[in-house]
């Protein structure tokens, strides 16, 4: 209905293969970006930016990372939290040694370290598939967690065992540390996330992304088409972990400001996994939808009882949140195993074929 595609024809393969071939999608995305880059910084409260938007964006990025590995390359991972941790600690060490280098560059570079960790722990994927592989990623999770505790060098031998984000500036504006305002941090994060989402989209639609999906859909056939399984899987691990690492660095430097091992524990791995499941495996849009859903839902659950004058303990709402998210996961798997992104896609298809129930040609 909203989609009126008559008259949109492609005269080149470049246009036909564009990320958003439909005009209405391009308009929609432009509006969203306009709101994100201009509307929110101008109008939203610090609470909204600091507690809703920033975490949402950080988790979206982590979810993109996991989704690349799990949704696109078909390799289930339960080690997202740890890979995020590698990024965060790497960034911390880098800025300790190179305090003068722009922190944004360091954040982007810190992902390289988690990519390396990803490749290392992705090695077993050549021989191990599916659930078995998921369990080996637990090894990464627990081993790295242990490293974050035991290797004091990582947190500069602080007594607290935690890393404290120093203040770093860009053009004399504080972008990390206590003096950085939420709006500034938000603008940095949204720029990074937008850029990296675009990069992910580009890679996924090209030769490399296709090789991942080939491995995911039918690894034997992929190999018989000339795909080297090891190379494809490891590149997926590396690329995915890079995203998780950058997300981890952003999380610490742009959001919570300090971190210890609990920030990267197995629960975070699961949290990101839930985002990917509910958002939709194999969909970039799904990463954002899933992150919004899983992050915003608890905020709403916390807010609702207050609104209706009910006074619940913080712990109670947390338990309720767990139950609701658990039920929703099951519900989604039953109703639409492909998540919110598929729901949107189905809805969009409805709008495209409106008033017909399906495309009849």
């Amino acid at each position: 209905m909203l989609y009126r595609e008559a008259g949109q024809f492609k005269t080149s393969y470049a246009a036909d293969q564009a990320l958003l071939p439909i005009l209405q999608d391009r308009i929609g995305l432009s509006l969203i970006l306009l709101v994100a880059f201009v509307g929110i910084p101008l109008l939203a409260t610090d609470f909204f930016i600091g507690s809703v938007m920033i975490p949402f964006l950080v988790f979206s990025l982590a979810a993109i990372g996991l989704n690349i590995l799990t949704g696109y390359a078909g390799q289930l991972s339960l080690g997202t939290g740890a890979f995020m941790g590698v990024g965060a600690y790497a960034c911390y060490k880098l800025t300790t040694y190179f305090p003068d280098i722009n922190i944004i560059l360091l954040i982007l570079f810190s992902g390289v370290f988690s990519a390396a960790a990803g490749v290392l722990f992705g090695l077993p994927s050549l021989r191990i598939k599916g659930l078995y592989l998921a369990i080996t990623t637990l090894a990464a999770q627990f081993f790295l967690e242990w490293c974050f505790i035991r290797i004091a060098w990582l947190y500069n031998y602080n007594d607290s065992g935690a890393i404290e984000v120093p203040t770093r500036k860009l053009l004399d504006i504080a972008i990390t540390g206590a003096s950085a305002t939420p709006v500034v941090r938000y603008l940095v994060i949204i720029s990074v996330v937008t850029l990296m989402a675009l990069v992910a989209a580009n890679v996924l639609r090209g030769r490399i992304g296709r090789s991942w999906m080939m491995i995911r859909d039918m690894d034997i056939a992929a190999e018989l088409m000339g795909i080297r399984p090891l190379r494809a899987k490891l590149s997926a691990f590396a690329f995915s972990s890079y995203y998780c690492g950058v997300a981890g660095a952003l999380m610490v430097f742009m959001w919570i400001g300090s971190a210890e091992v609990e920030s990267f524990d197995i629960n975070h791995s699961f949290l990101v996994l839930f985002m990917v499941i509910i958002g939709g495996m194999g969909s970039l849009l799904g990463c954002f939808l899933g992150a919004a859903f899983i992050w915003v839902l608890p905020i709403i659950i916390r807010a609702v009882p207050q609104l209706i004058g009910l006074d619940l303990l913080a712990a109670t709402t947390e338990h309720l949140t767990n139950i609701i998210i658990g039920v929703l996961i099951i519900f989604f798997l039953i109703v639409e195993p492909h998540g919110l992104a598929r729901l949107w896609q189905l809805g969009k298809e409805k709008l495209r074929t409106w008033p017909f129930p399906y495309a009849s040609n």
Partner: protein, 318 residues
């Protein structure tokens, strides 16, 4: 050279020097291994019969133990509380079959796994909501479980055996035997075995798949309850167990997803292995290696034998 010495020589010298201590460490590891095996057993039961990788087995242990303890707190006599807990686990099994599994028939494995992760969250949330998140002591004495310890003088030293550990081992053994009898001697047990091989075969025995699923989940629930009691008696009933229960996944890798003997052997290997590693090699790494030893062992193991200890070699077909 020092490093090689401290890895390959020194620990063994230590072992030889204090064999009583070694024995004590092995016993501690053995008991932990028994509990890993029990959790793994729950996984295997469900996986064998329904192909579902039940991630919620760990939380089921906590949940069952919490139900028991809380019922007793509410004033129920211990053994009545056990019976009621059994009923609760039965209801849970029926509920899971009815509202989750039945709706996800023929779905991909990964989706079923995800569903049990969802179930984990529900059980965790509702457990904490109803019973509170605080750790609770197990009603060991009320259940007539032994406490105290016996000393065994050997190798010129003393090895201490906690009675509850001995009891746990015995109970685990009994349960494995009971399961073995159940599977080989009863009609339902045979049907369960059949269903693991071939769904059609099970139908010909006259039991519906729905019933079978409910039964295995119930059986896994009982295993969880027993595990919970034993574990609780050794330490306490708390949600921290959930993370430890993940080690059962490593056990499964060693033992294979479908093998009950595998689960037992795997559990013991990991239990004993991680204790030995922690005690004799842990200092090299800085302690706390127990947290990851099981997984790394599983990972290394997988690289050489992806089919598990007792699994058959897989031939891929095109």
């Amino acid at each position: 050279m020092d490093i090689l010495h401290s890895i390959f020589v020194a620990p063994f010298i230590d072992m030889g020097a204090y064999p009583d201590f070694l024995l004590q460490v092995i016993w501690e590891g053995f008991v932990a291994g028994v509990l890993y095996s029990l959790i793994a057993l729950g996984f295997v039961l469900i996986y064998k019969a329904s192909g579902v990788f039940n991630f919620a087995q760990g939380i089921m242990v906590v949940f069952a133990a919490l139900v028991l303890v809380s019922l007793h707190e509410m004033g129920m006599p211990a053994w009545v509380a056990v019976l009621v807990s059994v009923v609760v686990m039965g209801l849970l099994a029926i509920g899971v079959e009815r509202f989750v599994l039945r709706k996800l028939v023929n779905q991909h494995d990964a989706i079923l796994l995800m569903a049990t992760i969802g179930l984990t969250l529900v059980l965790k949330g509702s457990g904490q909501l109803i019973f509170g998140g605080e750790p609770k002591p197990m009603i060991t004495r009320e259940l007539g479980l032994p406490t105290g310890a016996s000393d065994w003088e050997v190798f010129g030293g003393v090895v201490i055996f906690q009675h509850i550990d001995i009891a746990a081992t015995v109970v685990a053994l009994l349960m494995v035997l009971a399961l073995a009898v159940f599977f080989s001697k009863t009609r339902i047990g045979r049907a369960l075995r059949a269903v693991a091989d071939d769904h059609q075969a099970a139908l010909s025995v006259g039991i519906s798949l729905h019933q079978i699923w409910a039964i295995v989940w119930f059986a896994a629930g009982i295993v969880a309850l027993v595990t919970g009691i034993m574990w609780g008696a050794r330490s306490e009933v708390s949600f921290a167990l959930e993370i430890i229960a993940l080690k059962a996944l490593a056990v499964l890798i060693l033992g294979g997803f479908t093998s009950i003997p595998g689960a037992i052997v795997g559990g013991l290997v990991i239990g004993i292995g991680e204790k030995l590693f922690e005690v004799y090699w842990g200092a090299l790494f800085g302690s706390g290696v127990e947290a990851w030893f099981a997984y790394v062992l599983a990972l290394i193991f997988l690289l050489f034998r992806p089919q598990g200890l007792f699994g058959e070699r897989i031939i891929e077909r095109v």
